[in-house]
């Protein structure tokens, strides 16, 4: 199956020709498959944010091409604008972009720009609000009256309402309490399941990514450093440490047990796997 988004060796240089010149990403070859849940990790300054802004045509690569469904997204201005609706991008701290008088109007901003009918807009706004758990009465309130977590969810609904085929989120849970984090991750998974859309989740939390992603891409120094299943990635704990990243806490525990001489799976990255691995060990000991 062809990937839905693909970058062909893109590079991006900021402030070219000034003392502040900075190559944020270099020769990045990256793809998102139809309907997958992809985790994107990387240390601050590794180029993640620059990369994702290329995927919906907010940044134009200084070199290379970005393909959406096999077509160059920069082939015409019309195409670029169309891609922005099909590849939804939720920025970091999206609550700072709320501007309308009511939550309803703010969520409707995207669909309205798509030129949909009033009926269709209404249906989408209510559906998107439902997914992020905002209720009817909250839709008529000013977005500035909501709590931090609610604002964040309203902003995410504003992107989901466009029903993008690829949903990209830049650290959607940053600065929220554990409950708020769980809610948002759950809502993103629901969108993923209900629409069969591809999701790219940028996160610093290994637990979050380990629990949700089918595949993980690790960025470091402006290039793709690793690409594989969570199991493949978390097996390379040493390298991850070298890039300023960590493995999930469960994996760290299992690694330590392994290094102490116990025959457990050092790459287990979910609680269930770790439990099974330790229990099987216990069973083995009992038999011996």
């Amino acid at each position: 199956m062809a990937p839905i988004i693909q970058t062909e060796n893109i590079s991006h240089v900021y402030s070219a020709g000034t003392p502040f010149e900075l190559a944020a990403i270099r020769n990045v070859r990256f793809q998102v498959e139809q309907g997958e849940f992809l985790g994107l990790m990387g240390h601050t300054g590794s180029g993640k944010s620059t990369l994702i802004q290329h995927l919906n045509g907010l940044l134009k690569p200084t070199a290379g091409r970005v393909l959406f469904q096999g077509e160059d997204i920069w082939s015409s201005p019309k195409k670029t604008r169309a891609v922005r609706f099909q590849v939804g991008l939720v920025f970091q701290y999206p609550e700072y972009q709320l501007f309308e008088e009511t939550v309803y109007k703010d969520i409707a901003f995207g669909p309205k720009n798509m030129g949909l009918s009033d009926g269709e807009i209404d249906e989408r706004v209510r559906w998107a609000a439902g997914i992020v758990g905002l209720e009817g009465s909250q839709l008529e309130r000013s977005p500035f009256e909501l709590s931090g977590g609610q604002k964040r969810r309203a902003a995410i609904a504003g992107v989901i309402a466009m029903r993008p085929e690829v949903l990209i989120l830049d650290e959607p849970t940053a600065g929220l309490d554990p409950r708020g984090r769980q809610d948002i991750i759950g809502q993103i998974r629901e969108y993923h399941r209900e629409r069969g859309a591809a999701v790219v989740l940028v996160s610093h939390s290994m637990e979050e990514i380990a629990r949700t992603a089918d595949r993980i891409v690790v960025m470091s120094g402006g290039t793709v450093a690793m690409d594989g299943t969570p199991r493949e990635i978390f097996r390379r704990a040493e390298e991850l440490h070298g890039m300023g990243l960590a493995v999930p806490e469960v994996t760290a525990v299992m690694l330590r047990l392994h290094s102490l001489g116990l025959d457990v799976d050092p790459a287990a990255y979910t609680m269930e796997e770790a439990r099974a691995s330790i229990l099987s060990l216990k069973g083995g000991c009992a038999r011996a």
């Binding site: 003392p19 700072y96 798509m114």
Partner: protein, 267 residues
């Protein structure tokens, strides 16, 4: 996009110009600007232009950066040039309908354009080689005598440094909000004047909200550290004139005086 605006930006460096005391640079820039307005003759302009080029070379700032800084005023320069070209009275060299071009007009247009470009380049050079903090420090020191007249010099300087400090932050913020709204299909580039003005709403509302939030946070942070104005406040970096400052000052004043004298004699 907005990051490419270099007006008023500081480029860190270690050239002679960077190391001069900010007060020296401020005074020299003022003298340069005043002198620029007394110049009436090719000779005066030549001397000032050479002086400016010399300063640019000393600063180590690449010419490309300066040209980029001049870009935003190109339209103003062109309009000024055209107005001077057509509206200066004199003996017409060429005329068509209500327009006529005079020798005086050409002269006035060329000088006016040169004057604006040199003026902007001079001030750009000041901000390119002086960090905003040093610049406001220098202003505070130079305005100190006004304290006698109860001018709140320290407060003004503090307000200015805060304003300068937040320009890049707000530009960054603008860029971010613009991207976020574009990701929802906002269109800032097409449509008529009214449509464009309305399209700015999704940008301006969040920008104001965040500016107020930042101001509030800063005020609280300052109060937490017991800020109470300039009374009895000492400095981390005390400005001191060095030999190079005296030399630069003598050179600049002599040059300014020379050109002014030339101007008085009609050159």
């Amino acid at each position: 996009m907005l990051k490419d605006i270099t007006f008023g930006q500081y480029f860190p460096g270690d050239s002679l110009l960077h190391r001069l005391d900010p007060r020296t640079k401020l005074i020299l820039t003022l003298i340069f600007i005043v002198t620029l307005f007394t110049a009436r003759h090719v000779l005066s302009y030549g001397i000032l232009l050479a002086y400016l080029v010399f300063a640019v070379i000393l600063s180590g700032i690449r010419p490309g950066v300066i040209f980029r800084g001049l870009k935003p005023i190109v339209v103003v320069v062109i309009i000024t040039g055209i107005l001077n070209l057509f509206y200066t009275p004199g003996i017409p060299l060429w005329s068509f309908w209500i327009f006529s071009i005079t020798a005086e007009g050409i002269r006035a247009a060329v000088f006016m354009v040169l004057r604006i470009l040199m003026l902007i380049t001079g001030t750009l050079l000041l901000t390119y080689t002086t960090s905003p903090i040093l610049l406001t420090d220098a202003m505070e020191r130079l305005m100190k005598p006004l304290k006698v007249l109860r001018v709140p010099v320290h407060e003004l300087a503090m307000m200015m440094s805060i304003a300068l400090r937040f320009i890049p932050t707000l530009l960054d913020e603008t860029d971010k909000i613009m991207s976020a709204q574009k990701a929802r299909g906002a269109d800032f580039e097409s449509g008529g004047l009214m449509q464009r003005a309305r399209a700015l709403l999704p940008l301006l509302v969040p920008l104001f909200v965040s500016a107020f939030r930042r101001a509030d946070e800063l005020a609280v942070a300052m109060e937490c550290r017991c800020y109470h104005g300039g009374e009895g406040r000492t400095r981390l970096r005390v400005l001191r004139f060095a030999l190079r400052d005296y030399l630069a000052m003598i050179f600049g004043i002599a040059l300014g005086a020379g050109v002014t004298v030339l101007g008085v004699f009609g050159m």
